[in-house]
Symmetry: C2
Subunit: 199 residues, 2 copies
Amino acid sequence: MNYIPQSLAKVIEEISNLPGYGEKSAQRFATNLLKMPRSEAVDLVRNLAVMLDKIHPCLECGIYTEEDICPICKSTERDKGYICVVEESFDAYTIEKTGKFSGVYHVLGGRLSPLEGIGPDKLNIKSLIERIKKYSAKEVLIATNPTVEGEATANYIHNLLKKYPLNITRLAYGLPFGSVLENADEFTLSKALEHRIKV
Amino acid sequence: MNYIPQSLAKVIEEISNLPGYGEKSAQRFATNLLKMPRSEAVDLVRNLAVMLDKIHPCLECGIYTEEDICPICKSTERDKGYICVVEESFDAYTIEKTGKFSGVYHVLGGRLSPLEGIGPDKLNIKSLIERIKKYSAKEVLIATNPTVEGEATANYIHNLLKKYPLNITRLAYGLPFGSVLENADEFTLSKALEHRIKV
């Protein structure tokens, strides 16, 4: 007989349906909450509800924001002619931390993945083209992940944008800073050789 | 500059403080929620709140339940003279699935772990002794995990209970069913030899 109480079983079932979660990790999440001081757990759940209430994609670029238009799109210091295309909001936040990009972002909301049934229609590509036209964009920097799916997505976007008069660029492949050459994989090393820099 | 919206940053910070979570896994959890159909995400969060409201440790054995006394402790078919001591509620649910144990459980709420500052006072050991006396228990089956910390916890409880007139038992160590002998670790194999069964 299964003695897991219903309200606990329900939460475990719902969490185990999230991508990257299974039954065990869902159990661990629920147990963690139940073992915390109850007031802290209630706070966390309340903050999750606040997050779901406040956070929406920016109407312009799709980045997660609490406002209609995100602070980056609203800023007069950002050049809307330079658009950096990322898969998810957190990719944009990560690039933002470098402080080296002064354009705006465009969040696709995922990557092409035939296996998961994610085709071009599931990604925010139409709005990217609208923005390119609206702001007569000069450069689109495709910053999808350096994975097979990220590459396929980048190629797809590149083909779509070829007909527009703009520079299409990609983040450089190469050795990660602080890494050991001996441990680099062949693909990364090939790319680092191919795109070697004149000193 | 950090553009992560406040309500999102707060949730990530709180989740990354959970045991077994870091910043990346907290981000993934939050992103999963934000990418779900909003109504499902709101439902999940509501169910988490319901769980926190309803689930409490059983006043008798400490297992997570929605009632004051759990269905196992309440059942007249369970022998309260046989107590199975487990670290967490889910260990009890797992044993319950076998249908081979007809006694009651006692949830310690963790394991001895000096590194994490968990001493005997943090575990439900006092109430175990009270139950042993109250029901004149005949057997205590210590079913802590087969880990260093689980073993230490079992030894500690064994020493405490020695003076009572009852059988103290442990779950058997041995080869897991369906495993390959060649791949068994030395410790497990030593235990399987030591506790070999007469056929």
